[in-house]
């Protein structure tokens, strides 16, 4: 027998169960999934005295053992299966002192399963304000249990709870009431047929439609002599059971629970009046959304630029320090760039979950659901889908992670599947450069065509998300049993500790869950881009040098050098004004020559890189890809850029810069170079038709491996991300094709 005490933490939602878990375990937590399903499994370790440890399992919040969702089924399945490895030695049932009556319903059910249960009465700090007084010893004897009066906010009672857990063998495990009373005849029959089993346990097995893996329902009910009842009759009995329990609880509370109504203050009512108001409610929500949006879009750009610079520097440092070779390249360009591509998302994820934790903790999120439910319902979305959809405008990755708050699996899945349609910030560089190229200057009602196009693209993203949700809602056949009953919890100041743990947990879950996939794909893309089997690829350096010697630099490179030299000349004051900055003409000539030589080496290197990319594996793929993208108005160069930008959309611009062998850092140069690109027939490659086609392609295509990775993580299967990749690419291809064919 192990020395660890196995504890299951159970409770209604909004009782501060997570706070109790955090207080008991600190950062010693592990989050995983229950096998095969998407329900989160949270485990933690709590140190008790004398080296004894408790393994705490934080079960999903539930109102009773009558399950209506997958989350709740997990609880029932575990509590019914004494052979399960996680089956608790003791259950800790967390309740909220203000809603004790309702919380005790679940407690009495767990007691009746004859599982030793400790009752935690949380939020004890609110008792004075609400005028509540309790008779704990009497309550303990009436409920046949041990009670810990806890305040996670004031950090009191936790030590007492730990002591109770340690002495779990002393916790009584008898039932609280005789459930057979609801239908003596039926339960008598149950007892006769299965004398070995506890009648209440049998009752739960019969009424609950849960997936028993170890405890086979059929096995248990294999005895044909037992006549069960119709569904309606069973439901009537469940109804009677609930009423019986409430009667029992009311009797107990009458003797042990006193509320002085005079002392209670109506803070909640006045806040609800404003926050769920028909006009102000929406205004306030809109302002909160804008703040969140601003934070992930704007505030996180500072740490993101910093991370970007650090990883670029690390990559450079590796290249300079290690001997050149394949291995060094793998580290510098494959692995470090790949890890950088994961770390770069951390600021956005942290900011979004900071705000979401605040909204959840304070009780505001339920008000959002109340306000938005009716508006989102026709599209198969939940009131809670609004936050992911809007924050998707910054980045789809934290947005997809934010769907965890949606309890209904179908609504959550649809939200996950359509969120990547919203215009994320990675699309912006692509949009800006193409809009500048193909959308003419000019104004409509004082707004420039270019700005209008950008706005249209944002609207188009939302429209497509809503449209796709409507269609998916019709197609997806997922049985959901969740009824819409949302508890509106009391407003509370958020506990900073809980907010902090949420942020840490979400970040960890992204880095370890999705990070592996992102790293793997970036290494594959790096490999494809830096390897080739043709002679052209292997001898790129020689071929390009010879070509330069024979034909001189490409017109593009020459223009680049001329430009740089002109910039340099105008930046230096030559002999015009007598000043200390005056540079002797000879020295200037000297430095000009040096600069010219430097620039020449640089452009030759750029031309080599371009040539290598063209003949690398990915370049060849892009070329063989051309027949597929030609109907959209693209050539093989754009084809390669589309392929490489599967890593992330903004890579499109960088890849084009490499192919056209222009400096990566100058957007204006890339734009000019793109404008000069012509088709074999001499017409410009980027015109209105091909430009709009590209814009639409990037608006709808799932060009982001990180999103794919996080969808895999969140849905716990490859089925959904692949489906998503499929339908998004098809929509993107068809709209781009239609746009090009119509416009050209």
């Amino acid at each position: 027998m192990s020395k660890h005490i196995k504890v299951a933490l159970i409770g209604n939602p909004n009782t501060g169960k997570t706070s109790v878990f955090n207080q008991l375990t600190g950062l010693k937590q592990k989050v995983g999934n229950y096998p095969g399903i998407t329900v989160e499994k949270k485990m933690g370790i709590c140190k008790l005295s004398r080296g004894v440890k408790a393994h705490i399992l934080d079960l999903p919040g539930t109102y009773s053992l009558n399950t209506t969702s997958l989350d709740e089924s997990v609880v029932v399945e575990l509590l019914l299966n004494r052979k399960a490895p996680d089956f608790p030695d003791v259950a800790v049932v967390v309740s909220d002192v203000e809603n004790l009556k309702r919380n005790l319903l679940l407690f009495t059910q767990i007691k009746d399963l004859r599982i030793p249960a400790i009752l935690v009465i949380n939020m004890a700090d609110r008792m004075d304000r609400k005028g509540i007084s309790l008779d704990i010893p009497k309550m303990e004897s009436l409920l046949n249990t041990r009670i810990a009066l806890v305040s996670t906010r004031k950090n009191t009672g936790i030590e007492e709870l730990k002591q109770l857990i340690e002495k779990y063998r002393e916790v009584p495990c008898g039932p609280t009431l005789d459930v057979c009373k609801i239908d003596p005849e039926y339960f008598g029959q149950l007892k006769n047929t299965f004398p070995e089993e506890d009648p209440y346990k049998l009752w739960v097995v019969i009424t609950q439609d849960v997936n028993f893996t170890l405890l086979e329902k059929n096995d248990l009910l294999r005895d044909r002599s037992f006549q069960t009842k119709s569904k309606t009759d069973l439901k009537k009995l469940q109804h009677r059971e609930t009423i019986l329990r409430y009667k029992h609880i009311n009797d107990i509370l009458k003797e042990t629970y006193k509320v002085d109504r005079e002392a209670a203050k109506g803070f909640r009512a006045s806040l609800d009046k404003i926050l769920t108001h028909k006009v102000f409610g929406y205004l306030i929500f809109f302002v909160i959304l804008l703040t969140i949006f601003q934070a992930i879009y704007d505030w996180s750009s500072v740490p993101m630029d910093f991370i970007d610079a650090q990883f670029a520097a690390a990559s450079e440092w590796i290249k300079e320090t290690l001997p050149p070779g394949v291995f060094t390249n793998l580290i510098a360009e494959g692995i470090i760039a790949g890890i950088g591509g994961i770390v770069i998302f951390i600021p956005q994820i942290a900011f979004l979950f900071f705000f979401i934790a605040l909204l959840e903790e304070s009780g505001y999120m339920s008000r959002v659901v109340f306000l938005m439910d009716r508006l989102m319902r026709p599209f198969g979305l939940s009131g809670k889908s609004v936050v992911p959809l809007i924050s998707g405008t910054a980045c789809a990755i934290p947005a997809v992670m934010a769907t965890r708050n949606i309890e209904n699996w179908k609504e959550r899945l649809i939200t996950i599947l359509v969120t990547p349609f919203t215009t994320c910030s990675a699309r912006l560089p692509v949009y800006l450069i193409i809009i500048a190229l193909v959308i003419p200057d000019g104004r409509l009602l004082g707004l420039s065509y270019q700005a209008l196009t950008l706005m249209m693209l944002y609207l188009l993203g939302f429209a497509m998300a809503i449209l796709a949700a409507t269609v998916l809602n019709k197609i997806l056949k997922i049985r959901t049993r969740t009824f819409f009953v949302v508890e509106m919890p009391n407003y509370k100041w958020p506990l900073w500790k809980n907010v902090f743990y949420t942020v840490v947990e979400k970040t960890k879950s992204f880095v370890y869950g999705a990070g592996k996939i992102i790293l793997a794909i970036s290494i594959v893309l790096w490999f494809l881009g830096s390897n080739g089997y043709t002679d052209q690829f292997k001898n790129a350096e020689q071929i390009v040098s010879e070509r330069v010697a024979r034909e001189g630099l490409s017109p593009n490179s020459q223009a680049f050098i001329t430009n740089k030299l002109r910039e340099y000349r105008t930046s230096i004051p030559i002999g015009v004004t007598p000043s200390e900055n005056r540079i002797p003409v000879v020295a200037l000539q000297d430095s000009l020559e040096r600069l010219q030589a430097d620039l020449r080496t640089r452009v030759i290197n750029m031309e080599i890189a371009s040539y290598r990319l063209e003949h690398s594996l990915i370049g060849q793929m892009g070329k063989s890809f051309e027949p597929l993208v030609r109907p959209l108005g693209y050539d093989w160069k754009i084809g390669i850029a589309v392929l490489t930008s599967f890593a992330a959309r903004e890579v499109f611009v960088g890849t084009l810069a490499t192919i056209y062998s222009v400096g990566n850092d100058e957007e204006e140069t890339i734009k000019n170079r793109m404008a000069a690109e012509v088709r074999p027939d001499g017409k410009p490659l980027f015109n209105l038709a091909s430009g709009v086609s590209l814009l639409l392609f990037y608006a709808f295509a799932m060009q982001c491996m990180s999103t794919l990775a996080i969808v895999k993580r969140e849905t716990n299967s490859w089925k959904w991300p692949l489906l998503q990749l499929g339908f998004m690419t098809v929509i993107a291809y068809i709209t781009a094709l239609a746009a090009y064919q119509i416009l050209s």
């Binding site: 109804h239 659901v369 439910d373 509106m488």
Partner: protein
């Protein structure tokens, strides 16, 4: 037609009378929505759906379709 929660106005209080247990989720009962209990209508969302009620100390939001099935007996409007 019978008088239900959906017929209440903001701030109105009533006592729950009938409750069709075949069509309504048990979750409602468990949240304290039992016959004989007092219910107060706290807020109605735009388009009259969902409806935010306080039953016996439980603050919950339910959809209009559900509210229309819960018969109530109004008590004198709030003071």
């Amino acid at each position: 037609m019978s008088f239900t929660i959906a017929h209440l106005k903001r701030g109105d209080k009533a006592i729950i009378r009938e409750f069709p247990i075949d069509t309504l989720p048990i979750k409602l009962l468990e949240l304290g929505c039992l016959p004989g209990n007092e219910v107060e209508l706290v807020q109605i969302a735009p388009l009259k759906d969902p409806i935010y009620i306080n039953v016996n100390g439980s603050h919950i939001a339910i959809r209009r379709a559900v509210a229309m099935q819960i018969e109530v007996e109004p008590i004198a409007a709030h003071e």
